[in-house]
C-alpha cells in the first residue's frame, strides 16, 4: 500500500461540509492516485483546485478509454445477487482465499475494505429498478493479486449530491488501499472496477 489517509481527529463529523475534512481527504487521495497514474500512463494530472466530483468524472472518462479488456482466466469467480447480504459472502470468499494463501493482518484488511467498497457500490447504485448480478473475479499472478467487481447496470453517470449518494469516498478509498485501480464504465454499462494489490512479504502483512 503506497497511499493512505491521515488519521481523522476524534469527534470530527465526516461529510459535515462539502468544504470539510472528508471532501479534502477525497480530493487528496484522488490527486495522489492520479499523479501516480499520470507517471505510469502519461495522462494529465488533476488540478488540485478542481472540484472533487468534476475531477472524479474526468478521471473516470480517461479510464474508460485506457483500460484493456479482461482476458486472464480467473482463480475465483463468484456471482451474487446485488443485495447487501451478498457483500458478507464476498468478504468470506476473500477470507477463504487469504486462508489458502496465508494472508492476514493489514493486507487482508485492505483487501476486504477495498473489495467491500466496490461490492457496496454495485448494491447501492447499479440497479435502481430491481435486482441484478454482482460479479467478483480474482486471480493471483506473480506477486500481485487482482480482483474485479462487475455489474450489469447501465454504467456510472453524473448524479446530484443527495444523502443517499453517500460520501463519495468509495473510489478514492479503493485507490488508497490498492496499488492500482482501473474503472471501466462505457455508456450503457456494464461497470467494471479492477483492483490490483501487490502481495507483501509475510513479515510485512
Amino acid at each position: 500500500m503506497t497511499l493512505g489517509f491521515k488519521p481523522i481527529p476524534r469527534g470530527t463529523r465526516i461529510g459535515q461540509s462539502r468544504e470539510g475534512l472528508a471532501d479534502r481527504a477525497v480530493q487528496a487521495a484522488w490527486v495522489r492516485y492520479h499523479r501516480r497514474r499520470a507517471r505510469e500512463t502519461g495522462l494529465p494530472t488533476v488540478n488540485r483546485s478542481e472540484p472533487t466530483s468534476r475531477a472524479s468524472l474526468r478521471i473516470l472518462a480517461e479510464h474508460r478509454r485506457s483500460v484493456p479488456e479482461l482476458t486472464r482466466p480467473a482463480d475465483l469467480e463468484l456471482t451474487l445477487p446485488a443485495r447487501a447480504e451478498s457483500v458478507t459472502v464476498a468478504r468470506q470468499a476473500l477470507s477463504g482465499i487469504a486462508d489458502a494463501m496465508g494472508w492476514d493482518g493489514t493486507f487482508l484488511a485492505d483487501l476486504k475494505i477495498a473489495v467491500s467498497e466496490a461490492c457496496s457500490n454495485v448494491v447501492m447504485h447499479a440497479y435502481e429498478d430491481g435486482d441484478g448480478p454482482l460479479e467478483l473475479t480474482g486471480w493471483v499472478e506473480g506477486e500481485a493479486v487482482t480482483f474485479v467487481v462487475t455489474d450489469r447496470g447501465s454504467g456510472i453517470s453524473p448524479r446530484l449530491q443527495t444523502r443517499a449518494a453517500g460520501l463519495g469516498l468509495g473510489l478514492p478509498l479503493m485507490a488508497a488501499l490498492s496499488d492500482e485501480v482501473e474503472v471501466r464504465s462505457p455508456p450503457g454499462g456494464p461497470t467494471e472496477v479492477r483492483m490490483t494489490f501487490r502481495i507483501p512479504a509475510p513479515e510485512q502483512m
Binding site: 456471482t79 445477487p81 468470506q92 477463504g96 489458502a100
Partner: protein
C-alpha cells in the same frame, strides 16, 4: 433452489477451493439461518464432495430454500455424481453425504448432471 438467490461460485480446485467453498457455504448457511450443528454438517458434506471431485475447477450453485441451505455441484459428467456419493461411503456409516444432508438428488441436463444436496435447519430422522 430459489432462482433469485442465484449464487454461483467457480474456484480452482485444491487448497483454494477447500478454503473458499467452506467459507462461502458457511456464510450462505448462516443467511439460511442454519444452527451451528447444521452449519458444521453443511461444511462436512461440502468437504466430502470436494474430496471426491476430480476436476480442475469446482463450480457450486448455492441458495437459501424455504427449509435451509441448498447447493448444487456441477456440471458433472454422466455418472460422476453417483461416483462421488459412492466414494464418500465409510464402513458401517454409509455415504457421509447421504448421512448428513437431509436430501440428496441428481439433476440431469443432458449430457451434464448436478449433484444437489439440501441441509435443513432441523435434521430429518
Amino acid at each position: 433452489m430459489s432462482a433469485a438467490d442465484g449464487i454461483v461460485l467457480r474456484v480452482a480446485s485444491g487448497p483454494l477451493a477447500d478454503a473458499v467453498v467452506r467459507r462461502v457455504v458457511g456464510a450462505v448457511g448462516a443467511q439460511a439461518e442454519l444452527p451451528i450443528d447444521r452449519l458444521q454438517d453443511a461444511g462436512l458434506v461440502t468437504d466430502a464432495i470436494l474430496d471426491h471431485l476430480d476436476r480442475d475447477q469446482v463450480q457450486i450453485r448455492l441458495g437459501t430454500g424455504t427449509k435451509g441451505l441448498e447447493l448444487a455441484v456441477g456440471p458433472l459428467a454422466g455418472g460422476e455424481a453417483d461416483r462421488i456419493i459412492d466414494r464418500s461411503r465409510m464402513p458401517d456409516l454409509g455415504s457421509i453425504i447421504e448421512r448428513l444432508a437431509d436430501r440428496v438428488w441428481i439433476e440431469r441436463s443432458d449430457p451434464d448432471e448436478f449433484l444437489c444436496v439440501e441441509v435443513r435447519r432441523t435434521a430429518q430422522g
